[in-house]
Structure formats: C-alpha cells, structure tokens
C-alpha cells in the first residue's frame, strides 16, 4: 500500500494520468466538437456518419470521426520537401506540442486525496490542527507540481511553443511559411505581454502566483473558497476578459488566425503533411484545453464545487482560513464521504474545463478574423493599456482592502 501511494503521488504518474486520461481524449474530442458545434451554430448537421465497417450502425453522432482522422494522419506518407532544413523541420512540431503538455504540470486538477479516510468523512479542522495524524499519513495531491512561481512557469514555458511556429516557418524554405512563422512570432510576442499583465491583478489580490493556492484560497477570507462569489471572476472580471482575449490570441485560432491565414498564406505549416501537421493541429486543441484549465483555476475556483467543503455541503456559515487559522462558523453541514467529495470536485473541474472549451469554440466560430494591423492595434493599444490600468486599480483596491479590513 505504502509504495502504491508513493507511486500515485509521484509527479510522473500524475502527469501521465492528467495528460493521457484527461487532456488527450478531450483534445481529440474537441476536433469532433468543433465540427459539430460549428454545424449547430450554422444550421447544419455536421459530420455524423463515421462508423466502423463491421458495425455501420455505430455512428454515435459522428464522434468516431476523430478516430478516422487519427488513422488517416498516421497512415499518410511522411513527406519532407527537398529543400527544408531537416533537423528544424522535424523539431518544430515537437516544439509546438511539447511545451503545452509540460505546462499542464502546474494545473491543480483536483483536491488532495487522503487515502485513509476515503470511505469516511474528512474533518478539515482535525487536518488543520493535527496534520501528522495517522489518517493523513499519506496524501495524493492532484497537481503535478506546485511551484511558488506557478503561472509564471506557464508564461515562460509557453513562450517556447512560439519557436514551434517560427521554426516551422523558417525551416520550410517557403515564403508563405516564413511569413506565417513571422506573423506567429510577432503575434505571440505582442499578446504575451498583455496576457501576463492581465493576471497581475489576480496575483495581487490573492497574494500568490500558485494556481493551487488560488483555488484553495479565493479572493477573500471572509467567504469560503467554495463560494462562487469568492472566485476571481467576480472580483477580477476585466482581467478575465483581457486574459481570455490574449489567451485566445495565443492559440493562433480565429479570430486571431493571422499566422495561419488560410485564405492568403496557409500559414507556417503549409509544407507539413500527415502526422507532423497533425501535431500542430493537436497542439492547438491542447492549448484550448490548457487555457480553459488556467482560466478555470484562476477565475472559476478550479475544482471547487459551489458550497462543497472538504467534509460536505455547507449551507449558511462558512469555513475558511483566516490568518493561517482554519475557522468554521457553523451552518448546516450535509456530510459526505471523502471519496464522494473528491469525485464531485474532479467532475466539477472537468465540467468547467469543458464549458470553457465550448465557449472558446463559440468565439472561434462567431467572430471574423482580424487584419494584421487591427491585431497589433488591439494587442498594444487596447489590451496592454487596459491591463496596466487594471493592475493599478487592483493594487489600489488591495491597499484599500487591507486598510479597511474588507478581505
């Protein structure tokens, strides 16, 4: 048992579980969701008939299209044009997809599991006062790595995926691809600035860069972290809009698909085919999932279920950490086993991520694309000043809040 817990709590295990059980299936399903959803938005039916030859009735509303896509991409010829820089050409798709997968390490996708109390109710007060109690001897924290510099790690690592697009464009030895690569790098650079700044207000308010901490604390200690009013979407709504805009621009999808620019230059991956192109394609969808996960963690309470504390649903009263001290103000508690609470919270995280992915697809299929100059104007002249101003406002608010004891 001991070793099992140790293995389960190992970052590698958690990363593999997160990426291969949650992220990859979700990203592949998004390829189907995108087509069906766009169809529904445009009064069409969308792809709905892919089925295995041995079971033609197994249509499942077309979900199997992603399997067909995967088979197609894997079985296509792996063609490398003659003049390309072979090394960089091969490296670029990996650089596009790798950093996103690594960045998932900072996402808290669930609460900490205490295996010894799985079938009983977890007592948060006992946990706070006696962390070395034998019930809490082992724990599995459902977050691969919690660094103090949390979200900064994401900004840093995602800059690397810049190189994917840029190198692909450069290595392709193709003018259109090069244009696409340059556009990709300029767009990513511009929007990274606004993206980073837009979250500063949140960090100031919560006092931490670590998404796990943000999820566990919420904006104010006067409210329980599981109270939706304590999630940052309410306190930092402009930041949510700014961050979402910048983050969607980072995914390089419509309305910010200047690097791809299908009607004009086809983009930095114009020379790619088969599985290598598929990696770029998949990377975009994984980025969608990742951005949803970040927004969920920072703005929508991560894995928190409304009014569900570690020991069950709490109505009236709240339980929150005040000055490092866990206090409970009573209220009616509907006790639930630790296993049920954990399952609910994992489900809540998945649901929030899926809803945000859906929202991103909605945006992608609604807004027309920007021109390159409009794109730069929006990034530098609108998002950046607004983000700066919001950071200042948040700082003032935080000062006032400390002074008057609001939070």
């Amino acid at each position: 048992m001991q070793t099992l817990y140790a293995v389960l709590d190992h970052p590698a295990t958690k990363w593999v579980l997160l990426v291969f059980v949650m992220v990859m299936p979700l990203a592949s399903l998004l390829t189907w969701a995108e087509r069906r959803q766009s169809a529904m938005m445009q009064d069409r039916l969308g792809p709905n008939r892919a089925a295995p030859t041995f079971a033609p009735w197994l249509k499942l509303k077309g979900i199997l299209h992603f399997v067909a896509d995967a088979i197609k991409m894997i079985s296509k010829e792996d063609f490398i044009p003659g003049n390309v820089h072979k090394g960089l050409f091969t490296l670029a798709p990996l650089l596009a997809i790798g950093p996103v997968l690594i960045a998932f390490a900072i996402i808290p996708f669930g609460p900490t599991i205490y295996p010894h109390v799985l079938d009983g109710t977890l007592d948060p007060l006992l946990l706070a006062s006696q962390p070395e109690h034998q019930d809490f001897l082992h724990s599995i924290r459902l977050q691969v790595a919690s660094f103090d510099y949390g979200i900064l790690f994401y900004f840093a690592i995602l800059t690397l995926s810049n190189y994917g697009g840029t190198l692909a464009g450069w290595a392709s030895y193709n003018k259109w691809a090069l244009l696409g690569g340059l556009r990709a790098s300029s767009q990513m650079m511009s929007y990274e600035v606004a993206m980073g700044l837009s979250l500063m207000g949140c960090f100031l308010l919560v006092g931490s860069l670590e998404p796990g901490y943000i999820v566990g604390a919420g904006a104010s200690s006067k409210l329980a972290p599981s109270n939706p009013l304590n999630w940052l979407w309410l306190w930092q709504f402009p930041a949510l809009v700014l961050f979402m805009t910048a983050a969607i621009a980072e995914t390089k999808r419509a309305p910010f698909d200047i690097p791809e620019g299908e009607p004009e230059i086809i983009g930095y991956f114009v020379e790619y085919s088969g599985l290598r192109w598929g990696l770029f394609f998949l990377a975009e969808f994984i980025e969608i999932v990742f951005i949803s996960a970040v927004i969920t963690s920072v703005f929508f309470g991560g894995w928190q279920v409304p009014f569900l504390d570690a020991d069950g649903f709490r109505i009236g009263g709240y339980m929150a950490e005040v000055n490092g001290q866990l206090v409970s103000t009573g209220g009616t508690v509907l006790n639930l086993p630790h296993a049920v609470v954990t399952a609910l919270q994992l489900g809540a995280f998945a649901l929030k991520v899926i809803l945000l992915c859906w929202f991103q697809l909605l945006i992608r299929w609604t807004l027309p694309r920007f021109r390159a100059d409009q794109l730069m104007n929006l990034g530098w002249k609108v998002l950046l000043p607004l983000a700066l101003a919001w950071t200042m406002l948040s700082a003032l608010f935080k000062l006032a809040a400390i002074h008057f004891g609001w939070v």
Binding site: M41, D43, V241, L362, T366
Partner: protein, 228 residues
C-alpha cells in the same frame, strides 16, 4: 449623399458621413460629420457580444430543438410543432436515407416500350436520332422477325450524359416506343460508359415500371388508331 438629393440631413438614415452645414457662400463648402469608431468599436466588445448572441441562439435552438420530419423538410413545408420542443432550423436532408421530394411531373430516365411478346416496340424508323438535339441516340437497324414491321433496332443506345432531357424523341416517335416516364432518377456513375443506356437496360426499365397496359399494347395491322 442625402444632401445632394435634396433630403434633410437629419432624417437620412443611411450610414456614412452626414452633411451638417452647407456654407452660405458656396454650396461646395460643407461641414460633414463622420462617424469615428468609438470605444466599443475599438475593443470590438459590443460587436462580439451581439455576434455571440446570434450564434448562441442558433446553437441552443438546434441542439435542443427537434428536427422537422424529413418528408416535411423535403417538401419545404412547415409542420405544426407537437409539445413544447420547438423545431430546430436544420434544413439538411440526409440523402441516401432520406430522399428529397420529386415533383408530380417528374419523368425520369427514358424507357423502351415492349410488345405483348416482350419484343421491343421500336421499328428503327430513325426519327428520334434525327430530331435529338444532343445527338445522343445511336440506333443500328436490323431486319425484324415480324414481317409486318420490317425493322427493329439491333443497337439502341441513349447517352444519358449528353441527353438534355428535352423530350423531343418521345414526341417524334410514331409508334410510342420511347417514353420518359420511368420515374427513375439518373444515377451517378464512375465511368462515362456506365451512363449509356443500352436497349436491354431501357427495356428493363419498362419491366420495372410494371404492368402499365400501355407498355404492352399490341400494335400493327389494326388501323390507324392502334396506339389507343
């Protein structure tokens, strides 16, 4: 613009620059109000919100609503909704499973009529290949077994890819041997050759259509009105 047509500038609803003041000295000198993009245009927020509202409405309606019955869709007809669930707005007809509505007067491919004994009724008079504007009927005549009609077609081919469906061949035929009433839709083919209807295929269509008494009427030797 409005002013040049003598309109009052104020009730000109068309977007674009509006003439505010026309100079007293020269009618060419005007003060014009140009709508500059405001704050909501610069951030695109207002337009984005409106657009998202439209697509969201369609999405919800199409996901929650039921599809109108295929037959109604095919005829483009509105049907009264049952219960609370509204019809969605998807107009797609799932072709192989659902067929679109064919009008009453749809004729379909040609067919060759047959006699009582199953022989082809055509007497190879060559009127139809002569009249055909698309030159798509090929007939090679041969001597008929029935001495009364002299000739029969040894080869009778219609290239359906070239046919312009004018129906002149049917009009021209003196013995009602060729008709366009099989009701069979022209099928997609993989090779051009497959679109050529041979004598046998055309006769087969007649058999498919069924025991229409007219298609097996006896002919010849019964006076001028044998076609009745």
């Amino acid at each position: 613009m409005g002013a040049s047509h003598g309109h009052d500038a104020a009730d000109d609803e068309t977007p674009g620059p509006r003439v505010l003041v026309v100079s007293a000295v020269s009618p060419r000198v005007r003060t014009i109000a140009v709508e500059r993009p405001g704050p909501s245009d610069v951030t695109y927020l207002e337009a984005a919100r409106k657009g998202l509202g439209v697509t969201l409405r369609h999405f919800v309606k199409n996901v929650l609503g039921k599809r109108r019955p295929a037959a109604a869709l095919a005829r483009g007809e509105e049907v009264a909704k049952q219960g609370l669930v509204p019809w969605n707005e998807i107009e797609t007809i799932q072709y192989p499973e659902e067929k679109t509505h064919y009008p009453e007067r749809f004729r379909g491919l040609h067919r060759l009529m047959q006699r009582d004994d199953g022989a082809v009724r055509c007497v190879a008079c060559m009127l139809c290949p002569t009249v055909c504007p698309a030159h798509c009927i090929t007939i090679v005549p041969a001597e008929a077994d029935d001495q009364g009609v002299e000739k029969k077609p040894a080869v009778f081919e219609i290239d359906e890819l070239r046919c312009v469906v004018c129906g002149l061949c049917v009009e021209a035929c003196p013995c009602d041997a060729i008709r366009m009433d099989s009701g069979v839709h022209a099928k997609p083919v993989e090779h051009r050759g497959d679109a050529i209807m041979t004598r046998e295929k055309l006769l087969d269509l007649s058999k498919q259509v069924g025991k229409d008494p007219a298609s097996t009427a006896t002919q010849g030797g019964e006076g001028p009105d044998w076609r009745e």
